[in-house]
Amino acid sequence: MKKRLLTLALCGAMALSLAACGGGNSGSNPPADSGSSDGGNSASGSVYYLNFKPEQDGDWQALAQAYTAETGVEVKVQTAASGQYEATLMSEMAKTEAPTLFQVNGPVGLANWKDYCYDMSGSALAGELSSDDFALMDGSSMSGIAYVIETYGIIVNTKLLGDAGYTMDDIKSFADLKRVAEDITARSGELGFSAFTSAGMDGSSDWRFKTHLANLPIYFEYEADGIGDTDAIKGTYLDNYRAIWDLYINNCTCAPTLLSAKTGDDSVAEFVTEQAVFYQNGTWAYGDVADVGEENLGMLPIYIGVGDEANQGLCTGTENYWCVNKNASPEDIQATLDFMYWCVTSETGLEYLCSGDHMGFVIPFKGNLESSNLLVNIANDYVANGTTSIKWCFPTMPSEEWKNVLGSALTNYAADQTDANWETVRAAFVDNWAAEKSK
């Protein structure tokens, strides 16, 4: 009898503790919900934004809070880790509480997610676009709207360049860039710095080369052939791609065999601590490099020795398109559209998006503010001086797989720069393009 009592008591204790757990859960869930239902009578929906840009996570969180404080509508912002956006999106989309606002990188990304994209044509947000070119169309449906225009090139520490005896005006072509970089390398012992920051091929940095640098041979090939996309790339300018890659990896802060282990942070650190003159990256990196000092920053086009180099500008475009989840509830869709509209029209929203203290974006909307992002202003100067911007063609790259294979091949080649290894890069670029496009 005593034993049975003990068993009963134990069972009771267990049941209680289970109930306590359950109670704990049901206690912690409602506040999240009640936040939105208390929020406002007009807007009963809520917003869940799956953000692509890790570097702007903090700003988006703050902006979401500001919006909630102003309107009472709950906005949840989650940011995927660098390189993990598609994977995160895939698992988040399967949830009941799926993202209401997500992004695709262009036509190729859209092909994967078009069944989930709400048609935004006729929305207030679409009306704010400064040009219809920034809408991503799937037939007649406006599936995506670009929210940022970005520019990349070679960021230069002009002070170090001066120490090496050159000015920005000395570099007007690939031949100039090569001459200057190789001269700096030859004298790096005496100068105390290298030409390029390490071309890190770690996942946090390899997109600068497998995507952004690879854009140049693709762009020039598209231009030469008068096309905007292709199922079979020819690789006309691959020799130029090899030349610039050789220049990067053989004139940087470390041995080319070490590049596979170098990260994006390493490059930034090398640039900011004045170990290197050139750093390939874009306007989004201003926050990272601002410590160098405004007067010491410049930007150069990425010359690869093709086309009219005298008039070549920086690479400008977008691979960030907002999409609204069609499968969300109508209230949530409305709340999301309202939030997006607010972001690009309200004073607070514009301040966060455009100010150099926050995200420092150039946005393709009528409300775009004058930027305090120095790199953006440099990019504007290039356009004002009549140079031809290089378009972003990489949204037409066949797949993430294509980029990854190319990145691996580049890393492999960097460690052992033989023609055979370059042939692997060529195969990853040309053959795999056709293979991936046909899938």
Partner: protein, 280 residues
């Protein structure tokens, strides 16, 4: 007592069983179904039959991943078991500080695979950088790097199982053999190892399946670099599922193939080592 166990067993088994259903059975059945589907998100799938399996078997990278994993498993099963057994033998010899050694050897097992992979990546790269080399430039470095990490992590765990096994061998068996004139090797081969077969069964089973299931360490240490040369089966499945647009179903099909493979090998190994176990 028996009666109350009968009466109350749902209370004790229920929660675990429920968790097992939610966390294992349901995803497993969903996975089986999804391997026959074309899908983007797991809750929204279209049935396509066996085409995913056809694609999976045509994938040369999948085959390479299988060979890599097989080679890796053979090497680690042998290394881990031999070293763990040897360490267990040493640490049951009544030498001073035995407990400190046991604890220290066991500790790596308490660290998760991802963390371990990154830490060892720093260590390896730190050493290789002295010679202007890096871990990800050669499949050889990646392979042996993974072997070292897995050995470092698992030897301590297997060692504990072997120590328990060694301690359960009755001392009089060895003593009798010694009196009969058997030397150290003879006692090891004819007394200790036959009596250790249950532990050996468990340890080979664990190391075999762990070798095949290797994922965390693979992802964080080499991520398959260079050029997918160090990509194991589990990582290949993960990459197929998550980084290839429209290949989610194929990844799922690979996972089903993987499951059958691991279960088959595990059962085969159990049968082989079980048959060698002796009853005391």
């Amino acid at each position: 007592m028996e009666k109350s166990i009968k009466r109350y067993f749902p209370v004790f088994l229920g929660p675990t069983f429920l968790a097992f259903i939610i966390g294992f059975i349901v995803p497993f059945i969903m996975g089986l179904y999804l391997s026959l589907c074309d899908f983007r998100t797991v809750t929204d799938a279209k049935f396509v039959g066996l085409s995913n399996f056809a694609k999976a078997f045509q994938d040369a990278e999948f085959l390479h991943a299988f060979l890599f994993t097989a080679a890796f498993t053979v090497v680690t099963v042998v290394l881990i078991n031999v070293v763990a057994f040897a360490v267990a033998m040493v640490l049951t010899q009544n030498i001073p500080g035995t407990n400190i050694f046991r604890t220290t050897f066991f500790m790596p097992n308490l660290i998760g695979g991802i963390v371990l992979g990154y830490i060892w990546q720093l260590i390896f790269n730190g050493i290789l950088a002295r010679y202007d080399l890096a871990l990800k430039i050669s499949a050889k470095y990646g392979f042996w790097g993974l072997v070292i990490v897995l050995c470092w992590q698992q030897i301590g765990y297997m060692m504990i199982i072997y120590i328990a096994g060694l301690q359960s061998i009755p001392g009089d068996l060895n003593e009798a053999a010694q009196i009969d004139g058997a030397n150290g090797w003879q006692r090891l081969w004819n007394v200790t190892i036959p009596n250790m077969m249950p532990s050996i069964t468990i340890c080979t089973f664990l190391t075999l399946t762990n070798g095949f299931k290797l994922f965390d360490q693979n992802l964080s240490l080499t991520a398959g670099e260079p050029m997918k040369q160090t990509e194991g089966l589990a990582l290949n499945i993960f990459n197929t599922f998550y980084t290839r647009v429209g290949w989610q179903g194929v990844g799922q099909a690979k996972a089903v193939v993987f499951f059958i493979l691991v279960v088959g090998l595990g059962l085969l190994q159990l049968r082989m080592t079980r048959s060698k176990e002796v009853q005391q």
